[in-house]
Symmetry: C2
Subunit: 231 residues, 2 copies
DNA sequence: GCAAATTAATGATTTATTCAAG
DNA sequence: CTTGAATAAATCATTAATTTGC
């Protein structure tokens, strides 16, 4: 079949590896600008669109949660261990869903999906009325959560993190790509500059310890489904 | 506060009326092209963006369902009436959710959200790889569900329905607008041509009678939530 | 070995929930 | 309290693994 006949995106190993590294490094819900960036970068390794990146993070995050939920519920059923489950709980009954979320997103990011039509790149941050606040800056711990006031002044530092991360993965990927496929594989372009200093996961915010126990049912969906059978 | 300081869209009465009329007429999940159209039209009556239209339909649909569910569950609890509930049930355990859905959406519509950045209008149908199939054509019952083959050939009839509907509502709205606010209200533009023949709800597909009883839990969410408390 | 048949993963969409402005 | 906005969960659909019968 013709190569463009596939109905859905099929990530190349390099793309996957980069995405996973970003995920491991804490990226969860990239905003529009970040997605654009990531997409641009990943397109060096194969066809890809913004929505693919968006979906990938959505799905990966969701399935991660799911996996943890499953694991936890198994534990709970097996030896009735009740606490010490300090990692989990993405329920959002309270103002901000979780640390990750707070770090990676301000509440009014219109990040959303400005990228379906790839030909129309949103002029980075600057224009229009959708405020693209910087919400994470690796050099200065966390953006003060305040929100709106200095919208335009905070814009400058946006995407630094992602950018550096991408730059870093570039070198790795070139190496890997050659190792796996030989010198003539995908990379249509050679990335010019690197000069990265992004320390993989050192500058990354220490991984959160969240609410100790679920007060909502979110984490019990599977059990719930079982229960329903006996209603 | 300055007129552009509002953080969220506030629909004008005309906009609302048009949206509601479209909803009543069967529109549930307009695709990108339709949203563009609707947005363009509604912007005659006030500031509006594509995402507003998108959200409006999402929310309206959801809250409609919710209202029906609530009503139904109340009925069930009050006098144990068991059947004759032929309107409702948006559960989807079977290939196609419901008639509405099938009529208004083909399965591979990327309709999605190609409109966040309003400055970048997606060149109507024509370009790129996101196929914009026509999925409903009021003059010719239903588009054969086949799907992919003639993607580009089906594009022509897209949006006919919405267009006519919008044209129709235009006259009504002008009338209404004058009645309510006088002649100098919003309409920044006078709509030139009308010549519509769209018969409100006559050409609209007869309202479906769906599965009689929910086999999944979707419709019982509220009951389920109650149950959870007693786990 | 090797295709057809099953099953597991995962990309893509829609629906349900939630937050918060007005 | 209503409802615009946004995220998470559930679901659908296709591709990849894996199994199975030959």
């Amino acid at each position: 079949m013709s190569p463009s006949a596939s109905t859905r995106w099929c990530p190349t190993p390099e793309q996957l590896m980069i995405l996973e590294e970003m995920y491991r490094s804490g990226v969860r819900t990239p905003n529009a600008a970040q997605i654009q960036q990531i997409t641009a970068h990943l397109s060096l390794y194969g066809k890809i669109e913004g929505k693919n990146v968006f979906y990938w993070f959505q799905n990966h995050k969701a399935r991660d949660r799911q996996k943890l939920r499953r694991k936890l519920s198994k534990q709970l059923h097996h030896h009735h261990c009740q606490l010490n489950t300090s990692l989990l709980c993405n329920h959002h009954h309270h103002p901000h869903y979780d640390h990750q979320h707070m770090m990676m997103n301000n509440h009014h990011n219109y990040h959303f999906l400005s990228f379906l039509h790839p030909q129309s790149l949103p002029p980075p941050p600057a224009a229009s009325n959708d405020l693209q606040l910087a919400y994470y800056n690796p050099t200065s711990s966390l953006i003060p959560q305040g929100g709106f006031g200095g919208a335009t002044t905070q814009v400058m530092s946006t995407n630094k993190w992602t950018t550096e991360m991408l730059e870093k993965t570039t070198v790795e990927m070139e190496r890997l790509s050659k190792k796996m496929y030989g010198d003539d594989h995908k990379p249509m372009t050679t990335v010019a500059e690197v000069g990265s200093t992004l320390p993989g996961r050192l500058s990354r915010p220490s991984l959160k310890t969240l609410d100790l126990f679920p007060t909502t049912a979110t984490n019990l969906k599977e059990e719930r489904n079982n229960l329903e059978l006996s209603i």
